[in-house]
Symmetry: C2
């Protein structure tokens, strides 16, 4: 297998790296530069027309895209430690929180990034800046609801660190990078962020 | 278990109904009216603050939200017929196609619905109509890429009907309902749509 990767601050490649670090699995890696547009260059889009990172090339040459789908593939081959749940209820709750993080927080942060940030002005033409700005209160509302959940349990889906937490971590760190700060008064979320950032996998 | 459901054209409740019909599973149902706002009424938001449908109430009173997470819960309890794949590769490919349908087509259709449709003008204030309109070519591009995939295989993830197909079906039918038509020249997609619409589950 070969993982086509990209360095920080790209949040999706980092999701997969943290997942692999939690599993204790090493996969050979080819690093591309998003800033140089290497993921949109013909050498790469010949392999993966979507031009997104990360992707996993299997030994038969087949290409898997979508960070979460890559992680589900590895989870099926190497079930322990489980990062997508272990029984019907935990499988559902990890998925539910993963989706909530993606559809509320990650979507809002992505729209702020796409439609308000100077860096993306090169590639998102036109930027709908008023629409983009309208996502700032949505991102804050999403963080607030997640904070409420983290007042009740150490991790999003309960007692076990999961793919939902990994996605929340990479989303919050990317949000901070583009200037969407996590309010310190969300103390459960801030405490969670300190704890998961201290895991060795967070530096992957 | 009790499934809180909503009638067509709501696409997310329909995803779960089709999934259950493919499984041959019946779950007692409580139907709410989205048009009457019953999903936002205090009786329901006391159970599920997000005010979204469908949700599944378990026998211990616990609530599962997110249509796909509900289906993953049922799949873990009743694995056959598998609608999320059976081995590492098919699990990953179903998930990859599910995510592509959601992040490209369903997201574009959702933004058209939220930001351009007269019906949603009551609840999406303000509507960013230029942004909404900018999603029409994105929806078409997503349909075109899906058509290309369906030229190579009978279903999105290969030979087996899956949750990715169910999500594509409910998304396309909802898109048609709001006036975002599937171009007839996308013949692989149109043929796929005829085949999956002829399955008994499609009327669920």
């Amino acid at each position: 297998m070969l993982l086509y990767d990209a360095p920080n601050p790209a949040p999706n490649p980092r999701r997969v790296r943290i997942f692999l670090a939690e599993k204790g699995i090493k996969i050979p890696t080819s690093e591309l530069s998003i800033i140089k547009g290497e993921h949109k260059a013909p050498e790469f889009t010949a392999k993966y027309p979507q031009g997104q990172l990360p992707v996993l090339e299997l030994d038969d040459g087949r290409i898997l895209g979508e960070s979460i789908s890559i992680c589900r593939y590895v989870e099926a081959l190497h079930p322990a430690p489980a990062l997508f749940g272990t029984d019907a209820l935990s499988i559902a709750e990890v998925d539910m929180w993963l989706r909530r993080v993606e559809f509320t927080l990650m979507n809002a942060v992505g729209q702020i990034w796409a439609h308000t940030h100077p860096f993306t002005a090169r590639v998102v033409v036109p930027q709908y800046t008023e629409f983009g700005e309208s996502n700032r209160p949505k991102a804050l509302a999403a963080m607030t609801r997640i904070d409420e959940a983290l007042q009740l349990a150490p991790f999003l889906a309960g007692d076990a660190y999961s793919m939902a937490d990994i996605t929340l971590l990479t989303t919050l760190d990317f949000a901070a990078f583009i200037g969407v700060a996590m309010p310190e008064e969300l103390t459960a979320l801030s405490d969670w962020h300190r704890r998961v950032s201290a895991r060795p996998s967070a530096s992957a």
